[in-house]
Amino acid sequence: MASDDIWILGINMTKFGKHPDKDIVDLAAEAAMAALSDGGVTMKDVGVLAAGNLMSAAAGIGQQLQKQIGQTGIPVYNVANACATGATALRTAIMAIKAGETPVGLAVGVEKLSGAGLLAGGARKADSDEWTPSGRYGAVAGVDGRIGTETMPGVFSQVGMEYGHKYGGTSFELFARISEKNHSHSTLNPMAAYQKKMTLEEIMGDVMVAYPNTRPMCSANCDGAAAAVVVSGEYLKTLSLEQQKRAIKVSASILTSDPYQVACQILPDVNTLTRLAATQAYEQAGVSPQDLDLVELHDCFATAELVHYDNLMLCDEGGAVDFFESGATWRDGKTPVNVSGGLESKGHPIAATGIANIWEVCHHLRGEAGDRQIKDAKVGLAHVIGLGSACGVHILERSAA
């Protein structure tokens, strides 16, 4: 291993679901302690901590976590980057190692979302009894629902529909079948919030949230945390052979924001920045999409999964529908996508997601994924997108040791 490589030494996620008896500090501590233990190190070894919790981003989850598991005076970065918060925390720790500030970093993401409803567009101010222009658009009354929608299901439905308009081939049923795949995959994942197989009829007949996404086609609000210990290659060389064997190489760590595109300020463009991140990641890692043994991508809604097949270049441009129809993204297909069950069934505790998807890939690369193991997996990709937008792509490879 090269001295300047970055490795994941230890990684863990809590079970996603309802944790009524645990607060965000408990959940973050559970994941962090388990990640440290998985890597065979303690807080004494850690030189930097990056932590994310989106819903109470001002609370300083990093320092709260230290008070729960070990205060050593190291720099703490509390990060918030929408649904890319976890990936941003991981990348922050990686950057500190790359900068030579420390050989060992800890990244943690945690969220409590059980029972949460709409995360945006969940409330509109009542109309006042005097029309007075205010805000950036000089609006005299609330515009959500009057000028489009602010809800995430509505935004991502339009993202999928726009793809259909551009390339054709999409339908309510097609999007529902993507969801059917992920719910089917989830039955093998004991860490998922929901492990229920759902038929196409059940999915299409469920409560409509924003056409064409019904409830099971939306990411599940739930509680959870994930944490990772990252180290330099030079540091890894000083550790035991067993630690070296289980370490996973971070072949690429990329974070992008959206470059200007016409209309990107009208409907968020989640495509261009994902394609940009993927291009940079494949180049940095020296791998191609065909090399990937599994992909965990950001299926915040079934409509989103389709466009990311294309954005991550798993298929030819414009070919996402055919790619899915070929069966490629089922767990026995050419490029298994979201074998964890994805955000639609595993769940989406926002800040945890960008590390939990990396845990899933690492689990397979280590050969420790049990019933859902993708056989002989060597290379995997994890992708998240936070609306606004931020995109994180990590490419991970099995240790050669």
Partner: protein, 131 residues
């Protein structure tokens, strides 16, 4: 006739209601709110530009689950108005996939949002099927 105000400042009322954008004089990028510099080319000069009142539906969703007080279902859409994308609802047609489709031709239409205590009407906009 009662006094009228537009729901948002980029809606121009009158005999010929239309939307107006801030257009970058260097590259032509359009924005509906103010900019210190163009997000595309970083130019700092802008002029007002009228947006075509007709266009086609580039993307849509039928929202069934929204904040309390928002009538559902409604159609939220992105309308391509001769090259300028606009966010707006598709109105004056049933909110179902049989009546709204990708590529559908639409035109700007206004409606009364409500009347305040002084009797002033707030006027909103949406897009209705052209035919």
């Amino acid at each position: 006739m009662a006094q009228q105000v537009p729901l948002v400042d980029y809606l121009v009322l009158g005999d010929d209601p239309h939307l107006v954008a801030n257009e970058c004089t260097s590259c032509g990028a359009r924005f509906f709110d103010r900019r210190n510099a163009c997000a595309s080319c970083f130019g700092t000069e802008f002029k007002k530009a009228d947006v075509s009142p007709t266009g086609e539906v580039r993307a849509f969703t039928i929202v069934s689950f929204a904040a309390p007080g928002i009538p559902v279902p409604f159609v939220a859409a992105v309308i391509d108005c001769d090259g300028t994308s606009v966010r707006g609802n598709v109105i004056n047609t049933p909110a179902d996939p049989e009546h709204v489709s990708l590529g559908m031709k639409v035109k700007l239409a206004t409606y009364e949002v409500g009347t305040d205590a002084a009797g002033t009407e707030a006027i909103g906009f949406g897009f209705e099927p052209l035919n």
